[in-house]
Amino acid sequence: MEMINYDEKIPNNVNLSQDRRLQRALEKWHPGYIDWWLQAGPEGFQDVPVYLRTAVGVDPKGWAQFGFVKMPDYRWGIFLAPKEEGRTIPFGRHKGEPVWQEVPGEYRAMLRRLIAIQGDTEPASVEQQRHLGKTAPSLYDLRNLFQVNVEEGRHLWAMVYLLHAYFGRDGREEAEALLQRRSGDEDRPRVLGAFNEDTPDWLAFFMFTFFTDRDGKYQLEALAQSGFDPLSRTCRFMLTEEAHHMFVGETGVMRTIEQTVTRMKETGITDPYDVDRIRELGVIDLPTIQRYINFHFTVSLDLFGSETSTNAANAFNAGLKGRFQEVKIDDDHQLVNDTYPVLHLDGDTFRYVDEPALSALNARLRDDYIKDCGSGVGRWNKVITKAGIDFELKLPHQAFNRQVGQFAEAHVSPEGDVLDAAAWEARRDDWLPDQDDYAFVASLMKPVYEPGRFAGWIAPPKVGINKQPGDFEYVQIAE
């Protein structure tokens, strides 16, 4: 195990205390980062102890240390997964060559772009979620929100580390720009669309962590394959944390559904479309949940970029960004002559067209993502089935409600029917949350800060964080 020097201002396992260059660069950046956290990070709660997990090492046993900490004092560290000796570049033109420990000059620009885009998403979600503390359904959820936030902060650190350590002045400027952009800011927005959307309520937050953070997971998975070893190691370690965000999203939606169906059962409502009565129970009706799914899933699909992409092909060929679980795929990992079926819309019909596999990498990563989302939705449905309610949540068709890629101009229903613009617009509110839905969900967003208690629209979790008992005071608000 690589030892971590706690005495340093910045906990790390990258030998920061010996690296004068990096240390100075990061220490310069740090005040700006703290400013950003205080300005754009969680609103309120900055001076109360929160039961958070802190990474103190990369050893599987040592990386999750639980304890109470005030968020601005959180020890955002720099951690890379342990180095695999003898690792070789797993794909692309350089396949089989030893991995790079330094940025290959010829790929500097491409790598910097990949890292900057990934880095931009991390602070963005913190900004999007900054108001949610005010309406947390429980201290447990409040804590989970903050855990997600501080870890996104750490992920920003991780990307900034790479920029500082490997990209010289350009890297520092790029890192500075990460702090200047703001989610939803008219003049300096975040780079990707979904990261400029509002996260108005907790259901949206859970959907975001399930769908949008899952895009992050897939991007990190692809970068974790990188032949640029520091990037690979950074992303591998980030993935361990990213899993927590998936957990918050999946169980958050699941607990929402569970509460809805439990209350329906208690009051003898069997028709999931009996929306008014269900809403009177103070729980979120399943059709509204479906509309949230429709929105967040499709916005997240856009994050994967165009179906066919030269950039993706170049990054793969250069050995910088691989596929999901690249090393487990059984092919030549170079794809020069391979094809991959990509869904196309031809008039009114969808069909798969074999595209050169190299340029179809975005489509492939998106397909892996869709499958993963599907199994999560399947687990949600089990809760509904178990309660004996006849309703099935579904992922909408991948061409529905898209703004990026070849379906951006198409008007496709969630079922995959091709419509004209007017017909699509007419049914928009059936498919996507409308103002009434948002207003109703917002009306449920009343904070519950008493240990062990939960808002009426959400069920308690099955297991406490770090196996804490149900009434554990995760955020010590009262002093």
Binding site: P60, A64, F247, E250, V463, D471
Partner: protein
């Protein structure tokens, strides 16, 4: 057939994030479209996967005779109930199953409680008892052995950690295990089993390790001017890392820790009698650091150098545990015993004794028992309570426990 502690993943809690599979250094974890599962043939309980799991689903265990297959695990929508293994484990309420040998020891240890049915605290976890016997012992491996007391202290006390590998050895705080010293006595009979209270909490000395810690004093006495050592304690204290030890048990189904967070626990001990209290304190520290119930410890020793775990104990925050360390052989200080300190804390103790959530545990040398009993009686009298009626009622509700030797 020995029982196996099988590592499983709770499919209801798991979010299929692949972190565990990624983490497992020996590829014991795999998945299909439905579930992530642990291959019992491969898993070596290294526990690398536990901390990274975001959900806690990974931290699931079942004691089984035959491990669940991968196919079975793939098909689950939820974890199966924990199966009972009656032919493997007796309970103390059925003395017929108890080893006579162990029975005698236990009886003697609890003699201070007087006659009557012994009951555990209502919120105690269900204990496994005597899963392993002299005929079918568990084989543990020593993973650590450290001297706890100062080099110049008259008592030589060791902290010994035993690993059980894939053998299920579920223990609770307050339980004991038996150690079979190798060899025979001078009449050619196998040595007697010795019992040792477990000094680690239920998840293991290291969280989620299948191990236990013991606090062992090397018994030293003189026969005709010659120094002799206790057979088993001498054996244990001399063990090296990697040595194998035959273990029976676990034993004890009443001297157990209450699980509800409101429970107050008064712990009174001397010397190695602190072992179960270390276990209980660790349990509280790790799992419910903010529990409203109080921990109050009276711990007597001759000097700080002879008080096992003196250093770590001093570091525990007062918010977790109220500590009274009492020394009887400090230079320049009058001799003080635990009963003296109990009287000093009469007011606080009286408050606690009025609360139905309060539990008293006494563990250590027989000699302390009477003095403590009298001190508690004084405390009650001073605050308008009657110890002679409180004591049996606490005992009957599983709130008064004694183990002395």
């Amino acid at each position: 057939m020995a029982l196996l502690r099988q590592h499983l993943i709770d499919p209801e809690v798991c979010i299929r994030c692949n972190t565990c599979e990624e983490t497992c250094p020996i590829d014991a974890i795999t998945h299909n479209d439905d579930n992530y599962v642990v291959d019992a043939d491969i898993c070596n309980f290294c526990m690398d996967c536990i901390a990274p799991c975001p959900t806690g689903a990974i931290d699931s265990w079942r004691t089984v005779q035959t491990p669940y297959t991968l196919e079975a695990q793939f098909s689950w929508e939820e974890l199966p109930e924990e199966a009972e293994h009656p032919e493997e484990s007796g309970t103390e309420t059925d003395p017929a199953h108890l080893d006579d040998e162990v029975d005698r020891i236990m009886e003697k240890a609890r003699s201070g409680l007087g006659a009557g049915k012994l009951v555990p605290p209502y919120s105690a976890a269900h204990p496994y008892v005597q899963t392993y016997t002299r005929e079918r012992p568990a084989v543990a491996r020593v993973s650590g052995n450290y001297r706890l007391t100062a080099d110049d202290a008259s008592a030589e006390i060791h902290h010994i950690v035993l690993e059980f590998g894939s053998q299920a050895f579920p223990v609770l705080e307050g339980q004991s295990i038996g150690v079979i010293p190798p060899g025979t006595d001078d009449r050619g009979r196998p040595h007697m089993i010795r019992l040792y209270s477990v000094a680690s909490p239920r998840e293991g000395e290291r969280p989620n390790h299948n191990n236990v810690a013991l606090t062992v004093k090397r018994e030293r006495y003189e026969v005709d001017g010659q120094v002799r050592y206790g057979v088993c304690s001498d054996y244990l204290c001399g063990l090296k890392r990697g040595d194998e030890v035959q273990v029976t048990g676990p034993f004890g189904s009443t001297f157990l820790m209450p699980n509800h967070p409101e429970a107050n626990i008064i712990m009174i001990c001397t010397g190695t009698g602190s072992a179960p209290f270390r276990a209980m304190t660790e349990r509280r520290r790790r799992n419910m650091p903010a529990a409203p119930g109080k921990l109050l410890l009276f711990f007597g020793a001759r000097t700080p150098g002879e008080l096992p775990y003196h250093g770590p104990l001093k570091k525990l925050p007062d918010s977790l545990i109220d500590k009274e360390l009492v020394f009887s052989r400090l230079p320049d200080a009058p001799r003080e015993y635990v009963q003296d300190r109990i009287r000093q804390r009469a007011r606080d103790l009286a408050e606690l004794l009025k609360d139905d959530n309060t539990h008293i545990y006494i563990c250590g040398l027989k000699g302390m028992e009477q003095g403590v009993d009298e001190a508690l009686a004084d405390v009650c009298r001073l605050h308008g309570m009657d110890w002679s009626t409180l004591r049996p009622s606490m005992r009957e509700s599983g709130r008064f426990h004694v183990e002395t030797y």
